[in-house]
Symmetry: C2
């Protein structure tokens, strides 16, 4: 007699269900630090919606938890294995079904890599803005599940802003289609936005209709170096209040600048407190835009301002930002935070971070999407040193507490997953948390969809 998992394997095409631990071990974790990962029952890699339905019917029948996964580039443990769970890897459902230039939409399966979609739509003069740092690896399904952000959000918005409709498979295996393919629509409650960002706790996304825009015009870049963090923050506020609409507005603090310069000699001023990098992508108007941003920085005492005159100079100026992640990883193990505060409170957030760094004796490197008030304070520690890891956790918690005190959020774009589950309840308060738990139960009455994550 065969076991239930053997029955599922037999009902799906050869190779869809993998129980070999050598393979399934590779799927146990996403890219988060400090998050537990259990031992899964199996990895399932479906290629069709019907197969996902079969998996969920089986999971419901056998009360087996299911953890939907994309490319596992997430930073909050949302895709980590749970003991005895199916890891439902969606990476093989990776077709771009349709790109429609008149309605400016794309219909895609969840396993499509963000960069593949971005390039495919660019080929026909269109633009899919959401650009998380992981865009060369992460899947659209993962981006949808976490409502991923990125560098261009300051002008264009986050993943949710580009979702028109979804096809999902519910916990019991039924297919649900929500949203629309039209530009506007207000028929009933917005279940699409409820599903986006729900981190696999409500349903399994099997197809998405995404909104596209025309290709933006060429961008130019400005970089400004400040000796005082507070001056840089004033520049951010002044630029955002000026009516200029930067298509990128990134920030490196002193430890970030030093990490990048140590990683690659770019001639960065390692004594500077802050580096601000902004862009305008308004084509013929971009030069005037970045010049105006530069003037604001100069008026606020920037030590140095560089305004690119062409694409090559722009690429050089933005390279420092792109190198932060690999540069910081060279320093040690990292615990990457993702808080967001109102722009007006950024100066308090950064001052508080210095205090937390001193009090906990930790190195905190703080790059961020400063135009959105969304910072990535990253605690660097030695993974082999238990005391250091504990200090890192203390600093990490203190940063979230500070963000909430400043009217902000514990997660701007990375999601809750396992990493911030306790903090979510603090941020939401009991009334909102209770409603969210009840909505979870409406979608997943047996609690088999990514249990123990988020809520």
């Amino acid at each position: 007699m065969s076991t239930p998992i053997e029955e599922l394997a037999a009902a799906l095409p050869e190779g869809t269900v993998v129980t070999d631990p050598a393979t399934s071990d590779a799927y146990r974790r996403d890219s988060a630090s400090f998050c537990a990962a259990g031992t899964p029952l199996a990895v399932v890699r479906p290629t069709t919606t019907e197969q996902v339905q079969a998996v969920m019917r089986w999971a419901t029948a056998h009360r087996v938890p299911v953890v939907p996964q994309g490319a596992r580039t997430g930073l909050s443990g949302g895709a980590n294995a749970i003991d005895g769970a199916l890891l439902l890897s969606m990476v093989r459902m990776n077709r771009i079904v349709k790109i429609d230039e008149v309605d400016q939409i794309a219909v895609v399966e969840p396993g499509v890599i963000n960069a593949d979609l971005s390039r495919a739509v660019a080929d026909v003069g269109l633009f899919y803005p959401p650009d998380p740092s992981s865009w060369e690896m992460s899947t659209i399904g993962g981006n949808l599940a976490t409502n991923a952000g990125g560098l261009c959000c300051v002008k264009y918005g986050v993943t949710a802003d580009f979702v028109r409709g979804l096809e999902v498979v519910l916990a019991d295996g039924e297919v649900l289609r929500v949203g629309r393919s039209t530009a506007k629509g207000v028929a009933g409650l917005d279940l699409t936005r409820l599903l986006v960002g729900s981190e696999g706790t409500l349903a399994v996304i099997t197809r998405a209709t995404l909104a596209l825009r025309p290709t933006p015009e060429p961008a130019l870049t400005m970089a400004a170096v400040f000796d005082k963090t507070s001056d840089a923050m004033t520049a951010v506020a002044r630029i955002m209040a000026s009516g200029l609409r930067p298509s990128m507005m990134e920030y490196l603090d002193k430890p970030s600048i030093r990490a990048v310069q140590a990683y690659r000699d770019m001639g960065l001023p390692t004594d500077a407190e802050a580096l601000l990098i902004t862009q305008s992508d308004r084509g013929p108007l971009a030069a005037a835009d970045v010049a105006a941003m530069g003037v604001i920085c100069e008026e606020l005492g920037a030590a140095e301002v560089a305004v690119a005159e062409d694409a090559a100079e722009s690429a050089m100026l933005t390279q420092a930002r792109r190198l932060v992640n690999p540069a910081v990883e060279e320093l040690g193990a990292t615990l990457v935070d993702d808080v967001a505060v109102p722009r007006a409170r950024l100066v308090d957030l950064l001052a508080g971070m210095d205090r937390i760094s001193a009090e906990t004796g930790t190195l905190i490197v703080c790059p961020g999407h400063i135009g959105d008030g969304n910072m990535h304070p990253t605690v660097v520690f030695d993974r082999g040193d238990a005391a250091a890891a504990e200090r890192a956790q203390t600093a990490f918690d203190a940063i979230m507490r500070l963000a909430l005190e400043l009217g902000g959020t514990i997660t701007g774009e990375h999601g809750v997953g396992l990493l911030k589950r306790d903090w979510l309840r603090t941020e939401l308060g009991e009334t909102s948390y209770g409603l969210q738990r009840q909505i979870k139960s409406v979608f997943d009455p047996l609690g088999i969809l990514n249990p123990g994550k988020v809520l």
Copy 2:
């Protein structure tokens, strides 16, 4: 001994609760045709969140239905009275609490008139884009409840796209705060978007944090007259696929053109089949943008193309669109529809409308936000003629059926209310409808919030 409603009246400031039928009668209906309106128990006009809480606690205790109302400019009966209900008019909660230029947000009470907010933020160089036709009268709370659209949606999006956070009062009187004041945030399920567009069926909105943008640059307008509707539709598709980003793209069909010309002699060509009016608001680039749109229209055989060279000419060209509503109201009673279809299916929608008009023997006037595929086919009839009213209803239903067949929606921006309640179930399908009903029950277990509307 006092009655329950007398107790409520006594617990609230003088004049808050009005039971005099002469007054409450004036609150019984919104602006929809063909929608029943019951006899309310009272009108309640609170001025604070605490008063709304007191009302909802009382309503829960006495199982009395509550119908939240704004300015009652809605077109689907969503604010119509229910027998024995409290009409909870939010128009006295009309303070603009805060406008923040650095974070580009406004915090407002729900009774603020859209135009008042738009003007207040314009005074400090900011822009609140959502611009329903009712903007001079309708409230932000009503706009939020229906997720209102408008003319500028084609470039800027709908009301929901500008909502960061809400304070609402739940059915049991508890206050719930959802969303955030930061630009980004992904902490838990998106209850904000669930509440926006829920037409008073989930909670009572008492405060909103709205996102603003910098003031757009000056706009210029193009108008093109077509002898063939299909050529105009091809022009719409071509302009939208060209990479141009019109800030307005409106359409008048032949009956609309004739109605406007009859209402005011603007020299409109009454034999033309279609009038397309587009704008670009890219300041120094607007002239080139509208010229390019004009070239596309000419290439597609437009009989006449006018491109404005300044604001005065632009205003003249857009006036025809602004006069459609009063002009059509001169023709008779109207049943205003609000379907949306993918842009590629507009030509089929308009052809189908001609067929429906002929088959039902009704006059259908069809202006619309054509750039969004969101049309307002308006059936004109004689209210005193029962047979004519029945034909109007038949035509109205046929238009919604057609929109669904074309992959569209029964409501692009007006909402479901009473008018389209049966059709909502058809559009959603049983699975989605069932989930929405369950979510309604999570928020409103006693079913006292706007019962019989939407779901």
